[in-house]
Subunit: 360 residues, 4 copies
């Protein structure tokens, strides 16, 4: 069955998504033949180059072209954050399958409108890190009770490019286009992973910080969270963690042991198993590349490691499998909305300085 | 010159201090000949065994014996927390040199009284981790400007014995004797190190958590801090970090790079130097055992590593050097009081749920 | 310019090469449009499935089809080792560009014949690990003199599947098809990297070991080597290193410092720089994903790591760049022959128990 | 019971032994009260300083004073290697308990004479690393069959001070006094540990290398070994491993998994357990500081790590326990002789270039 795709966006994410559409058929068995039918972006010149390189059949400089073409089955939104709501709602109303980059929207209200508009279509939010084999394996270990009752769920996303003022002009540094700084960009990843692994957040307290003089958005965002399962967490997102390039990390402690992860070592999951004999206890470095691990077996042989791009391929692959089997898929727009609710409460807390409840 | 020491306390700390008094002369050159003159504790029987093993000349079951004996020059307090103030004040008033285990006291008022009483005598608080070579080296790097302006100072002390209910009867689990749980026990270490490395704290917000049903004290304590130098921090102390045995850690990010430390690897300091060429940047694992590093050269040869006990020997050794040279020494009772002030504000914040200013 | 490719081989390597041909145009700018024209293999049924999945236009069950078709520009050999010589010579004689999986041949004589036959055509041997960014960066550091005079070059390739008797029937376990066990399979990788990084080998002494009773090939191969630059090395290849899945490692010590690598962490290079100040010395973990590092910039952003497959894409990409620019490319068949010469001498040494000189 | 000790030697080892005699009673319960009765060395002036610092009651500039004094119970030899045989034989013939630094002797003949002379007295060789908790724990795991049949036993001792010509005048660089360079100094440690953990060596082939022009002794020593249990090993000792300060390491692979150790991280043992489920396999970093681990419980609490000096204290402590209980103790002079036999065969092999059998 042919699936005609329109990709909206020609930036770094456009490249990552293009690669996913090109590669998914090589590693995932689904009934769908992907046709890279249409690539939309604002710069006609570079759009042509990108289309030629990545095999997009046609291009358009107005995203509405994708909505208007009845032969387009799937619209994939890799545009700046402030456009997500309008485009996704239009696409959903036109009956398209809708994939959307994270964060889902700039506001809870927008996200709710997107969920409402997409009630009858299939959706996905590109919280691709759920398909890191190590994170999917962590999920499996927790679901199997290997960690027991969770006490601590700490997470941090540390990057270092904040001091570079040359990037101040990009849309990511403009609150009107990006929503916020590290909160929408990095903290949302932490929150989606936390909701996936540790369940609902009940309340939070946040501290927002801008280090670069005159900058309009947050450079760092710290928060304390309490979870519905009784655990507590400290969260941090920052672009001023000099020495860390892309350190998306978590550390979980439960009655059954510890799990630790760092995206810079995405093939690894650290596990301390409290059920080991006392003399045998220690932190194990598991290379999550076994044929019995989740996600990985779609790619290569044990210990023939994968990289960043594979998380996009796997997210898309599992989405197509769910589509073919008419099965549930997560994260969908409702999952994206859940992240926005926590984020909005934390932003409110950062403004008020008060503990703020998270509506669930 | 002979220095007659009375040690008060026969527990684990009594053993660590005994070792320091026995060993300091082997590794530090000072004019003092330490005489282990008197060991005080409540259990006469085990006291004799301990005295015989560690070379204490006499024993007494009442700590006042140490105060009353005019030939005692130095009183070292390794008693449960609630006794620190009374004993230290008595010792100071009797003109003794006073060393006191951390935390200095149960309350800021007590700590202030101790500082007042000790105005004319030399004091030390056993925040021994300042003499971990890696921490002393971190201090030197920061003082030399190698880290530039500090953005983030995060610290955590994670232990795992919290679920063990068999220790509920010990003084460390009794708020009347210990003050609090992890806050007085572990968080105080983090705070002293933070004050040493990163300077004054301006405000804080804390979350206290007791996981074990019915337990009277906190099992975990989380806090957000802001520092006078403009940096922000997240702090955590817990006995429910299953998988971590004694993970006293910090991670500091400044314009000049990152420093990272873990007490379980106390001979190591991790350093990412932002002044390296772009292609050469990475996190360096420095074995802090060079003859040009602080503290270490008193002991063995490069890479012939030291352990936990050496931090006590070094603290005592540097105290004796300062005593001989009539030089300043830190941490003294004033430094201990500074920790209490932050701690009290955080306890207040944990109760109120509000950001709380730290008086300096 | 169109480049019509025939791939010979439908196993794991066939998949890795197919991916490289599909992906190279996405990440490397060359004048060539790759057409996956022909896929050859012995099993017609699975060949069709593989061709459909990877976009090969036609299939053939006889590799001679690739040689005979005048429209085929490039023949890529991913067949069992014993077929390399015959096929490569035929392809070269037909004027094709020839790419060949490693090891180049079963014997030095065969390898010499291949070099002779390929004198007027472009060739590549798939020693793909030269394009691991970390290894290419190691080469650059050494070439720039950062390591000074080399004293030690040690290398090991450790896998753990040797005890699995279920694989005894595959061609890799048959000396007639594979040449040898770990020697041809794993040691050849170590040798190519060593020749690349450390130059010519002068003599060697080897020990061959078969642990599995009745097995016809070597399970482990150990060697001592001396290099023309005065350094010494110990080499080891084994499938009985239980606990190691794909640990292709080296450790180099020179007057200027140390380099250390492990393929299981292929984005990392460890570097101890002897020119650092004494207090600053340590082993640095460099994430070789900077825009100024070799190879990596073709792919994603800093710290967005790559995996196993990218080494094939990069090898092919650089080969096409060299082809377009009429520039030298390594490793070509002559480099493959150099590996065979060392290997043959080591096999002879393992038989004789004597030090054996390597002809250069 | 009083045990009057004479220590012969005032260098770095003299300091390490002095510390062991001073500390053993604090951590080990034995019936013996150690009296540090006599310190012998050649430099009267510094001898007095050292005696005062470490509590030696008397000093003598001729080692024969220790033999001649009937009140001396135990003679501890920490003299340059060439003196071991003469002194140990004299001490044994005088009926003393004899402890001797490693290596036992310069030649097998000397070592045999020492064993013969010491037939009726208790002896110990200071292969102190057997008492590293991690190494003792490795021994226990192997003895319990946790590693199954051993396939590979690799060991390396890497230091970096070789290029420093200022040390060329010391006895360690003089073949007449030291026997050899890294072979007697470092390789002997590797061999004793290997004999302890992996049993008898059957044959070996060695390569000796002097990098520093004009130096009389070996700077590096490489060897291949075969063991009586069927395993194979590569061994390396070097002072030219720039970047490694004191990296005494081993890596063992058996049917049951892998063990890995590095003296620079002496509190840690890495263990990959092949009996773990496939998805759970990985390399575990065990902090060997549990109360059920060997050696460690004599010292502090879990994760309160120990250092270099503790291996001397523990060796002495266990020797005294064996002495008190009239139990066997290893390593004694016979164990020291076993090391010499392997060493001598390897030296012979390095000269001849031939595989050489090891007499057992």
């Amino acid at each position: 069955m042919e699936l005609r795709v329109a990709l909206l966006g020609q930036g770094f994410m456009g490249k990552a998504h293009s690669n996913a559409f090109a590669q998914v058929g090589h590693f995932y068995d689904t009934p769908f033949r992907i046709r890279r039918a249409l690539l939309c972006g604002r710069d006609a010149e570079s759009l042509k180059t990108m289309a030629a390189r990545w095999g997009w059949e046609e291009t358009a400089t107005d995203w509405r072209a994708a909505i208007d073409r009845p032969d387009i089955d799937l619209v994939d939104i890799a545009l700046p954050n402030h456009l997500h709501a309008e485009v996704a709602i239009a696409a959903a109303q036109a009956g398209k399958i809708v994939l959307c980059e994270k964060p889902l929207a700039l506001t809870v209200a927008d996200a709710e409108a997107m969920v409402a508009a997409a009630k009858t279509v299939r959706t996905m939010v590109w919280y691709n890190y759920r398909r890191v084999p190590a994170i999917a394996f962590a999920h499996r270990l927790i679901a199997a009770g290997r960690l027991g009752a969770i006490f601590h769920y700490d997470a941090a996303y540390r990057q270092q490019w904040g001091p570079d003022r040359s990037r101040d002009g990009t849309w990511k540094m403009d609150p009107a286009l990006a929503g916020s700084g590290v909160a929408d960009d990095l903290l949302t990843h932490l929150l989606d992973t936390a909701l996936y692994l540790n369940g609902a957040v009940t309340q939070g307290l946040a501290l927002r910080k801008t280090f670069a003089p005159g900058r309009q958005i947050d450079d760092a965002f710290l928060a304390l969270l309490t979870f519905a399962n009784g655990s507590v967490g400290q969260f941090q997102a920052t672009r001023f963690a000099i020495g860390c390039r892309n350190a998306n990390t978590f550390q979980i402690h439960g009655a059954g042991g510890m799990l630790r992860f760092n995206l810079e070592r995405l093939n690894h999951l650290e596990f301390a198993d409290a059920s080991d004999a006392a003399t045998d206890q220690g932190t194990k470095d598991i290379l999550v590349t076994d044929m019995q691990h989740p996600v990985f077996p779609h790619f290569w042989r044990p210990a023939h490691i994968i990289g960043y791009e594979h998380t996009f391929i796997a997210a898309l692959g599992e989405f197509l499998e769910a589509l073919a089997g008419d099965a549930e898929f997560h994260p969908d727009f409702r999952d994206g909305l859940a992240v926005q609710r926590v984020l909005a409460a934390l932003q409110q807390s950062a403004t008020s300085g008060q503990w703020t409840a998270i509506p669930n």
